[in-house]
Structures are given as C-alpha cells and as structure tokens.
C-alpha cells in the first residue's frame, strides 16, 4: 500500500468524522427544539396543542418515511442552493441534517416522555414556569436517555454518511464506492469497512460510558 492510499484514507477518516459530527450537531440544533416542541404540544405535554402536534408529527413522518438514498437525490437542487455544489463532504451534510432532524426530534420526544410525571408535578407545585420545567427538570432528568439517543443518532449518521459515497459524498464511503466497487480494489474496500467499524465502536463505547457516568439513578 503506497503513501498516496494512506493519505487518501486519512483524509477519508477526517471527512467522515466531519460529515458525521457536523450533521449531528446541526441536526440537534434543529431536531432538539423540534423534539421539545413535540413533547410540549403532545397530549400529555406541558401545553397540549393538537394542531401543532399533528403538523409536526406529519412532517416528521413524511421525511422519515423517505429512504435516505432517495432523499439524497431529491435534495440535490436544495443542496446546490445552500452549499453551491451537490457533491463533497459539506454538501452531504445538508441531506444528512434533513434526514436526521426528524429522527432526533423523535428521540428527544421519547426521552422527555420517560421523565416521571410526579417530578414535573413537584416542580409545578414549587411555582416553576413551563420554561423552567423544560430546562431545569426535563432536560436534566432525561439526560441519560438523551445521551444514549445522541450516541445512537451519531452511529446512524456515520452509516448514512458512508452511503452518500454513492453520489459523490466524500469520506470513507466515497472511497469504498470508488475503489472497491468501480475499480475492483477489494483490499481498499475492506480497509474502509474496518475503519468504519472501528470508528463506530469508538463512538458507541464512548457514548455508553458518558451516559452511564452522568446517570445517578443507580449506583
């Protein structure tokens, strides 16, 4: 294996991490508030609002029902509008975020739903406002579930970022497709797969450890 291939693989790792974490972070910036809104407007939320909940619910379901590969292609014009081009790592973040946001919204919503209603009632009895309940009770008490959700989402987006290689997305997936699929270089493909497995393992293990560390419920 020559130096060029190693350099390419290293760049691939950086690109993959850039796409994964870039999309997770922007995804949470959009999906986090979405999840909170879904929880708050839900039937058992702090301010139930059927119309708002149904709208958000509908949009989430529509986006989540489109397979990522199709979404990737459907969004090409939109991506070009925002990033200026439809290929490369930065361009891939756009469909990744749009795919991830509703997913993250659901993960956040279900994490918040797990919070004991009694604790929320106790906070209300102390005179807490809804805003305080969200930021000082719900997000704190749901911390473990939220961190677990964050880990799962990151793993999912790592996989999706590799998938975007088929349309010239960049990163390890792109290398696997270009070399392994189009040029029959099985060895390079196997290396990229191993690298993806290693990255996934690291993300999952770190995530599990961190969420366990911040969980004070059972010790």
């Amino acid at each position: 294996m020559n130096e060029q291939v190693i350099k390419m693989l290293l760049e691939g790792i950086v690109d993959t991490l850039y796409m994964t974490f870039g999309s997770v972070l922007i995804g949470y910036a959009v999906g986090g508030p979405l999840g909170i809104l879904l929880y708050v407007s839900g039937e058992k939320g702090l301010k139930p609002n059927k119309i708002l909940y149904r709208c958000l619910d509908f949009v989430c379901n529509i986006i989540r029902s489109i397979p990522f590969l199709i979404l990737l292609i459907l969004l090409i014009p939109f991506t070009r509008l925002i990033v200026g081009q439809s290929y490369g790592s930065t361009a891939t973040i756009v469909p990744l975020v749009i795919c991830a946001a509703p997913y993250i919204g659901r993960v956040v919503e279900s994490s918040l739903n797990e919070v004991d209603a009694g604790v929320i009632e106790a906070a209300k009895s102390m005179g807490a406002s809804n805003f305080q309940i969200i930021f000082k009770v719900l997000l704190v008490e749901a911390r473990t579930a939220l961190l677990t959700g964050f880990t799962i989402t990151t793993g999912l987006l790592l996989g999706y970022s590799a998938m975007s290689g088929t349309v010239g997305g960049g990163g390890l997936g792109d290398i696997a497709v270009r070399y392994g699929y189009y040029r029959w270089k099985t060895d390079i493909m196997i290396i990229t797969v191993i690298l993806l497995i290693v990255i996934f393992q690291i993300i999952q293990n770190v995530g599990t450890k961190v969420s366990a560390h911040f969980d004070h419920r059972k010790r």
Partner: protein, 361 residues
Amino acid sequence: MSTIEIKNLTKKFEVEGHVVTALDHINLSIEKGDVFGIIGMSGAGKSTLVRSINFLERPSEGDVLIDGVNLADLTEKELRKTRSGIGMIFQNFNLLEQKNVIDNVCFPLEINGVKKKDARKRAKELLVLVGLQDKEKAYPSQLSGGQKQRVAIARALATDPRILLCDEATSALDPQTTSSILALIKQINEEMGITVVIITHQMSVVTDICQKVAIIDSGRLVEQGPVDKIFRNPESDAAKELISGKEIRYTPVRDLQSVRKIRIVFQENSAYEPVIANTILELGTPVNILKADTRNVGGRAVGEMILGLPEGEEIQEAVIGRLKASGLAVTEEETQSVSLSPDARRPVSPASAGTTEVEHE
C-alpha cells in the same frame, strides 16, 4: 380569615366521553396553624382535592381562597408566586433523581431566583432540621424511603411556605418510618407555625397528628370536625369504616355469634373506673369483649373496645345505658347475623360489609 378556604368546590373529569364527578361541592375551612387531615378510601377524590388547593387541578366550579386571595383571580405569574408559598410532599417523594440531596433542596430556591450561595446556606439549615446533614452529596437512589421523604420535606420548606400539603406522604413507608416522618411534620407545624394539610387513607395517621379531620367519600365531604370527637363518635358510614372497619375484618369479630355489637371509646378520665367489670356485676349479665385496643389520638391515649352484648333488647339497652352513664362514647357496630332488636342497625349491604380492603394507591 382562614388560611385555606374551599367554597363549593366541584371537579369534573371527562373520561372516555363520560363525565365523572371527582369532587362534589366541597366546603372546608382550614385555620392557620392547623394540622388538618383529609381522609378517604382510594378514589374518594382526596388527591384531587389537595391538588385544587394549589391549583395543580383547576376546579370546574367553586373557589379556593388562600389567605383570602381567590386563586381563580390570579394571573399565571401570580399563581406561580402563590404556589411557591405552599410546600407539597408526595407519596413517591418526586425528587430529582439526577440531582444530589443539596441540589434537590436548593431547587425551589433556584426556580425563585435566589442566589446560589444563599440557597446553599438555607438548604444546609434545612438538612440539619430533617437530620440529613451528612447526606448532602448523596443521590436519591442511595437513600431509603424515609430519608427521601425527609429530603422532600426539606425541599418543600426551602421557600418558607405558610402551608404544607402532604399527599399520602407516608403511604409508601413502613410503620416505624411513618411515625418518625409524622413526628417531623408535627415538629415543623409546632416550631414554624406552618399550616399542614394531610391527605391519607390511614386513620392512624390522622389520629397521630391531626387536630381536625374531614372525611371524603365518593367525592363528597361526609363529616368533619375535631379528631377526638369523630373518633369517639363517628356518624357517617365512611368514618365508621375508616375507624374500625379494616381492623375488625382482620379479626374474626364479625363471625362471632353475637346478636348485637357495640363499640365503646374511653379516655383517661373514664379509665380510672373498671367500667366493664362494674357493669357486669351490677347488671348480672356477661358481655363479651371482642376487641380491645389503645390508640394515640391527638397525643392522648384513647381506649377502644368492641363488646358483644347478651340477647334481649332490655338487657342490651341496660348495658348501653350503664356504659353511657360512665361517660363512654357508645356506637353500634356492624353485625352480620340479623339483629333481633327493633332498632337494628342499617341493613348490611354487601359493599360495606364485604371484604373491601383499603388499598394502597
């Protein structure tokens, strides 16, 4: 002016298209410094009632006045302010599991915008009060049930409330822990002058620390008054059930072949005279002692007995008359066998005479 005044309070819920009346025109006045018990079976509506006092549940009709202020007239912000002056503790403690003890106690202060340093100071004082100064850094999962409730009490007191609401606060605790928590609540009431409202299904909790009691049955207020009076002479079926029902069913009292049973309650003054023995000697008739017990009612020892009377209305009345003459409170007990006496008690319905157990919620 009463600290808490409940006027014509009605609460209706809609459950699957049906309207359920959880509370039906309740009127209650709770005075400053009272330890007020609200007792009823599961589903009687007492939890809804306590949640109406701080408007966690908005009433369908009627008013709740705290220190003369009608909660319905308040804006959301004013209501939150009022709530912070009413502490509340719960059956399941409802502590923040991800915060340690001191942060839990600081929490209501944090919500009310108290500076962190001042909040810590106040929290430490309160932890000393509840006897948990060495558990500051512990998380709720490391505490026992009694300790969790102590933390909850410290948390409820953090904002210097005028009122403390206790919603089945001892129902998840064992008897020993229950009495230590009740002693703490009593201490708080006496030392800080906080008005305490206690919701429970356990008569022993009411007799232990409450001065006044209201009995709720199927959403209606059926009886209220001083605890010792109601314990001595319960009028409503629900009160009788709560006072003696459960214990009697555990003992085979009901199965004994007595024609008529009475319950007598005597206090210190009547305990000097051997009333039962004298009655038997004077009237020359045996009475059967089916159950005897001593209880602490509002800090005083109160004896309670269930007697089986001999057959014959005349002699029964003579015994009752003799007991009443000695200053004892006498009430009729439920009898399973059909009574021969014409002034027989109300017919025993299966629902009230059956094995209805008071459930833990």
